[in-house]
């Protein structure tokens, strides 16, 4: 081995690594795109299950049981991705993020239903992300319940997503973690929101894209939110209304209220429509809920929604 030989080998190896890196990037982009939402189990349109308990984990267990369990959405060995709302570095009592105990219980329920792996995903707004998930208590909860944390930190963590049913939004991005998952379960926090009046399940999906800013400079933020929901295959919505944020939403700190409810539904629009009532608002007050109903994502008419309380 002399110097020339060494340099030759090093040169070939670096070119090889660069090519392999590019190839790796390519295959991620042409991998399975999210496509259309999975089939909703029969008879679940416009049905919400509301568990009420001071312990959010118990409220969740009751509501999921009433909904018939998770086996209708989780096949044995499936990779389940949970999408909580953990954009902000706020502690659990401040009600700006999904309750960590709720996330932990959801992980346990998914595993009991036969999930192979449960990943908790978020694309935070406050930085650094590890700090945010720590302050919200969710990182600890995920570790204790046997889940895995996956946090997006840059553009390479996202891939293209086609939105064929969108009225205004035709193409956007989706986190690669979510694209690779078999099941996506949305776990929003019920809060007031300065721009959209409320942030619930449909709004929570904004954390799945890379470029949020583009939606704000686009023609209609509310339409974009609804359009995107047609392309992201959410199998179940679990809305955390244990403690809700009433003022200064979505980040707070603000006035909170303990409602002790957990809302479970296979119908994302119905879940959001029901939650409007918790803030003494109507679904018609929230533009993106109306647009989502127009796109056929679910039922937003309160008179046609069945609420099963447990």
């Amino acid at each position: 081995m002399n110097r020339r030989r060494f340099l030759e080998i090093a040169g070939v190896a670096s070119v090889g690594a660069a090519v392999a890196g590019c190839a790796g990037k390519q295959s991620a982009q042409t991998g399975p795109s999210a496509g259309a939402p999975k089939e909703r189990p029969a008879g679940q349109d416009g049905v919400v299950y509301v568990g009420k308990n001071a312990d959010p984990a118990k409220a969740l267990v009751a509501a999921v049981a009433a909904a018939g369990g998770l086996k209708s959405v989780i096949s044995p060995g499936a990779t389940v991705a949970l999408k909580p709302n953990a954009a902000w570095a706020r502690s659990p009592e401040q009600a700006a993020a999904t309750n960590p105990a709720l996330v932990a219980q959801m992980i346990r329920l998914c595993r009991e239903a036969g999930a192979g792996k449960v990943i908790v995903f978020e694309h935070t707004i406050d930085r650094p992300s590890q700090m945010v998930l720590g302050i919200t208590g969710i990182a600890k909860a995920v570790g204790e319940a046997g889940g895995e944390l996956a946090l997006a930190s840059g553009e390479p963590d996202f891939q293209t997503l086609e939105v064929p049913r969108g009225k205004l939004l035709k193409q956007d991005t989706i986190a690669k973690t979510l694209a690779k998952a078999d099941v996506i379960i949305n776990m929003p926090k019920a809060k007031r929101h300065s721009q959209t009046e409320l942030t619930l399940g449909l709004k929570n999906l904004m954390g799945c894209i890379w470029n949020r800013q583009a939606w704000h400079t686009g023609p209609d933020l509310s339409q974009y939110i609804a359009d995107y929901a047609t392309a992201l295959p959410v199998s179940l919505t679990v809305t955390d209304a244990s403690r809700v944020l009433l003022t200064n939403g979505p980040k707070g700190p603000g006035q909170t209220k303990d409602l002790n409810e957990v809302i479970v539904s296979f119908d994302p629009v119905a879940a959001d429509a029901y939650a409007c009532g918790l803030f003494e608002m109507k679904p018609a007050d929230v533009a993106h809920i109306v647009h989502a109903a127009e796109l056929g994502l679910g039922q937003h008419d309160i008179s046609k929604i069945t609420v099963k309380r447990v």
């Binding site: 570095a89 930085r127 590890q130 700090m131 300065s194 704000h216 400079t217 980040k251």
Partner: protein
């Protein structure tokens, strides 16, 4: 003993590398935010540096007993053993030894085939001291510890981080690269002027073309200072009766510190590398407490001393032309750029450029990559000092890292709670580009992301219009960072207006309490 020295160099270099790697914030829930987790201060090598301590304290006319304690071990070591620091501890010295082996062929490793200018470093030292006496600090440019940390932070760590991230997709190799993520902050770091900082270090290592230890012999002001402090060491080189004046040691000495046919030692240059002892075929060289017969004091005659002071005077005059840019009354600079946004806890601007040694530690630990080296914002006196560039990264609320690592306390430590009233600037909405003010669109991202509840909206004609609350806005820049409008120029921008560095902290707190009003949402 030569191998003992190599081991010592290796250990201190490893220590340097470990501390460099540990200078990444981790969440400490009991502290309510990010903290450095390290058994020793990550800025250790900067703390123990007598040149940085002396120049910053002298120029700012402050005395920090804690800082004096930190430099004592090195000072004591130097009094006893001359420039042993240079040969046994200094991480830049270790890098230079390694680079010299590459730069110089074995045949050329002789003092007779080298070019160096040993008096030059004393002129540089004189320049630093006289300038400090005149109230300006220029040690930062050529101090080896500051230079090394700065060059690596600005010029080496970002490309290393990027390279490792790029190969994460590669099978096998990618696993190791992914595991290395913990060595870097979450954000991909990028710094202005990073290439220049890297080139400075490269140039120093390339000095090996001219002589071994070229930097240490000809340029290093810290080496010059230690050489003067350790002029009469207790433990030093002398020759034994076995010496036959073959001069092998003199020719071999990498610091050109031996003269008089091997008999005399220039104590201000000897770095205790033991090469003379190793190369001597007849045990004619020894390092001990024995007093040598002949001494060779450095050739620093009165003429040289006056030249040094002359250089110092010229340098200090040049440095002090920047005095007008620091015309301050309340801790702020009246002529500096609007974007001179200093980290929270920073001292007033006058003192800041005197204390800041531009080590780059604060920039390294900033978790959002918001702290950047200043260019024009702080004038010539403030070049490469840290400024917040909100578009690059906000000052994230639950973090106190910059104050935790600053070795000279140009940034004083602070707590997350205090950040509510440490005003570093204020955001202002540009109504000509803000999509709400300009075209009535639905935005309010600034209101959404603000951690301090400093943006409120008021309905005008049915649209919610954003406003900045000056009592709550501390200038963190998260609004500017997230504003969907613009590239470098967002529709809401932070300037240094409203900063209150000149006020004591309890006064800033009282100001906030007196000026806070409730607004609707």
């Amino acid at each position: 003993m030569k191998s003992a020295r190599r081991i010592s160099q290796g250990l201190f270099l490893i220590l340097f590398a470990v501390l460099f790697a540990l200078s990444v914030g981790r969440l400490d829930l009991s502290a309510g935010g990010l903290k450095i987790v390290s058994p020793l201060p990550v800025e250790l090598f900067l703390l123990i540096d007598p040149l940085l301590a002396g120049a910053s304290m002298l120029s700012s006319r402050t005395f920090t007993p804690a800082h004096v304690l930190w430099i004592l071990p090195v000072v004591l070591l130097t009094i006893l053993c001359g420039r042993a620091f240079c040969g046994w501890v200094c991480p830049l010295g270790t890098c230079i030894d390694a680079a010299d082996r590459v730069a110089r062929r074995k045949a050329d490793r002789r003092t007779t085939r080298e070019r160096s200018w040993p008096r030059l470093k004393y002129y540089i030292l004189a320049g630093i001291i006289v300038t400090a006496a005149m109230g300006a600090q220029v040690a930062w440019l050529l101090d080896p510890q500051a230079l090394l940390v700065r060059s690596l932070t600005l010029g080496a760590a970002p490309p290393a981080q990027w390279t490792l991230r790029s190969i994460e997709g590669v099978p096998a190799l990618g696993q190791a690269a992914g595991a290395a993520r913990g060595l870097f902050p979450e954000q991909q770091a990028a710094f202005r002027q990073g290439l220049i900082a890297a080139l400075m270090l490269a140039a120093i290592l390339a000095g090996g073309i001219l002589s071994r230890r070229f930097w240490c012999r000809s340029l290093c002001p810290l080496g010059a200072l230690l050489g003067l402090i350790g002029r009469i060491p207790l433990f030093r080189r002398s020759i034994t009766p076995k010496c036959n004046e073959c001069r092998l040691c003199e020719i071999d000495c990498k610091m050109d510190a031996i003269s008089g046919n091997g008999a005399a030692t220039v104590t201000e240059e000897c770095i205790y590398c033991y090469s003379c002892v190793a190369v001597c075929p007849r045990e004619g060289n020894v390092l001990s407490t024995a007093k040598p017969e002949r001494s060779a004091p450095l050739n620093l005659s009165r003429r040289h001393l006056l030249t040094g002071i002359g250089v110092g005077a010229v340098w200090s005059f040049a440095a002090r032309t920047a005095i007008s840019e620091k015309a301050t009354r309340d801790g702020t600079s009246r002529l500096a750029g609007l974007r001179l946004i200093r980290p929270p806890g920073s001292v007033g601007e006058d003192e800041f450029t005197e204390l800041c040694v531009r080590c780059g530690e604060c920039m390294k630990v900033c978790p959002t990559n918001g702290l950047q080296p200043a260019l024009a914002e702080a004038g010539l006196a403030g070049i490469w000092t840290p400024v917040l560039a909100p578009r690059a990264g906000e000052c994230t609320q639950k973090c106190t890292l910059c104050g935790d690592v600053c070795p000279t306390h140009a940034i004083q430590p602070f707590t997350v709670a205090e950040k509510d009233y440490l005003y570093i600037g204020r955001a202002a909405i540009d109504r000509s580009t803000c999509v709400v003010w300009e075209s009535g669109k639905q935005c309010l991202v600034c209101d959404e992301v603000c951690s301090y509840d400093a943006i409120y909206w008021q309905k005008e004609g049915g649209t919610k219009m954003p406003h900045v609350d000056p009592a709550r806005c501390v200038g963190c820049g998260i609004c500017e960072n997230n504003c969907p409008v613009g590239g470098p120029n967002a529709a809401i921008r932070v300037t240094c207006e409203g900063e209150k560095r000149g006020m004591p902290r309890d006064q800033q707190k009282a100001w906030r309490a007196a000026n806070i009003t409730e607004h609707p949402e």
